[in-house]
Symmetry: C2
Subunit: 143 residues, 2 copies
DNA sequence: ATAGCTGCAAATGCTTTGCAAGGCC
DNA sequence: GGCCTTGCAAAGCATTTGCAGCTAT
């Protein structure tokens, strides 16, 4: 169960409040959908479908707005794996990804499989904000 | 001067032919624009503007189509740095990137600054196709 | 009560495509 | 000449936004 570390033991409502978001019906519903259970990778459409299936009444527009708010609040991470489609990772801790080109599936890379050696420091007035590593897995070409 | 290693010494036209593309006026013009001189990172719009400035008559649609053909031909690399906008790198050799969030600028990361440790095996029937590493540089403002 | 949400639909921005005219071999 | 390309505009997608009505505090 992801979410920020300083919100352990809090209810979904309280956790939303902690990150500065008013706990509305749809935000609570989406937060539960996303953060209860193991971490995973979803697209806006995925969430939309799941919300519908779970009986959470939300429009696609609100899904997009809410996902972005969660990202800004630091409880969700955006992952760029494919052009034209945004993936969201409910695990915001430092880790990298495998992307299955064949079916567009995103998967966590085993911890420690990627190592950053000497990181050159950023130019004046800049700092390293995040490091995205995506290991692209393609169907083994049949020769 | 990028391009595939086995085309050294060939004219732009011949090099296009080598990768299976008919050397048309616009493909030659774009190839020269992109591959003559040091490697760089561009968007479709950048290329469009440069082509216009250089007097190469090309439509935006053809720019997009051509860039994709170049990518498929292996002489250009697509880099995902921002959602909704594709960057292209004229250097297809193994290397990683710095992305300046502030101004959307893409830059090569110094060689050797990133090191991949134990790469986990790829699942049945899959192989590692490419590894994208993007180091996000943000304005060092207040945290 | 009121500032903040939500939903719908229309708008946006990047990229692709359909199809007629033109260029390369 | 035949077939691949180009160009324009229109179509597509994913995502964002404007605004009236609703809701949490």
């Amino acid at each position: 169960m992801p979410f920020t570390s300083d919100t352990v033991g809090l209810s979904t409502e309280e956790r939303l409040r902690v990150v500065g978001l008013r706990p509305t019906r749809q935000r609570i519903g989406l937060a539960r959908l996303l953060f209860d259970g193991p971490s995973r990778h979803v697209t806006a459409e995925d969430v939309f479908a799941e919300a519908a299936a779970a009986g959470v009444p939300v429009s696609l527009a609100t899904i997009y707005n809410t996902l972005r708010q969660f990202v800004d609040a630091g409880i969700l991470r955006e992952v760029l794996a494919e052009p034209g489609r945004a993936y969201f990772d409910t695990d915001v801790s430092d880790h990298h990804h495998f992307f299955h080109v064949r079916d567009g599936r995103l998967e966590d890379a085993p911890v420690g499989s990627v190592q950053i050696a000497a990181l050159p420091e950023a130019p004046e007035g800049a700092r390293i904000g995040r490091i995205d590593v995506i290991i692209r897995l393609e169907p083994a070409s049949d020769d």
